[in-house]
Amino acid sequence: MTTEREIKETVREHYAESARQVKAADSSCCGSDTAENVISSKLYTTDELQGLPQEAVVASLGCGNPVAMAELHEGEVVLDLGSGGGIDVLLSARRVGPTGKAYGLDMTDEMLELARENQRKAGVTNVEFLKGEMEEMPLPDGSVDVIISNCVVNLSPDKDKVLAEAHRVLKPGGRLAIADIVARGDVPEELRRSLEAWAGCVAGALEEGEYRAKLESAGFADVEIESLREYTASDADGAGLGDLLQKYGKKGAEQVGFASVIVRARRPGEGGHAFSSLNVVAGEAVSCSPGSCC
């Protein structure tokens, strides 16, 4: 039986290694390069990446563009759960401007160090990185306008706690915009384990319905979950899972049971800004074409 502590240690070690690889100028991360690219590449526009340190871009291990989906406003306070190399924090800081703040929370020393370096290179001052856990956020109740996260919530062994904490630290009317991996339907256990290890590095993706239910029981309203990319057998094949897929008769364009999604929700209450329609925002933020993105 894997304990929560063991899961966290595995995740921490995995991302520490990714940070070390970025520092060593080697961009490969979980799985092979190809696998990582399918999930994490082409999520940001060239305009967004302009002026950001290369290390922040290379260390970006997300599966969506939560900053674009969050529709940030000048002066807002943003918290990024699992901030990694800091790309989404730096992008947020730019959008909220000097009157706003962007906080990055991460539990991995190597990633925090990398994020601080990237912050220095980017010359951004309205940013702070905190070492901590998303299951026990070190912030007071109702202190944040927007919570973002990029492919990190799936890594938590206690997602109910994460969502309850997110609800607590958000101001009434505050917004949640997270990119994440979800599981789809019935996948044979052996295949599921390997696919999860590929996509999220550690098993833990929820099904869309479970995600929605957990958000609602944490007190969130206006929950929307939109698919950004459904992974196919060729994506997983590129990650070296070909033999396994063949065994289960999955090939080519067939879906393998995982998707990148954007999850948005609001803490009920007066105040804050509303979201625009997700379709409009998603269309503008990510110019996806089959096989070329997310």
Binding site: E113, R116, E128, L130, K131, E136, P138
Partner: protein, 61 residues
């Protein structure tokens, strides 16, 4: 961390406000120091400008 960050931080365990003690400072930032939760009688270290706010039982890897 900047000194005024303490105003928005809370103890990860009991969520009470924290008290800042500075041991080393540079360019308006706290390089080394601690954040104390008087409620839990717990110190959270600040190392290399980053506050370590992991819950005490998670702090030693």
């Amino acid at each position: 961390m900047r000194k005024d960050l303490v105003d928005i931080l809370a103890c990860p365990v009991c969520k009470s406000p924290l008290e800042l003690t500075i041991e080393e400072e540079a360019e308006e930032e706290v390089v080394r120091g601690k954040l104390t939760c008087n409620q839990c009688s717990e110190d959270y270290p600040i190392e290399d400008r980053i506050p370590n706010l992991l819950p005490p039982e998670m702090r030693t890897a």
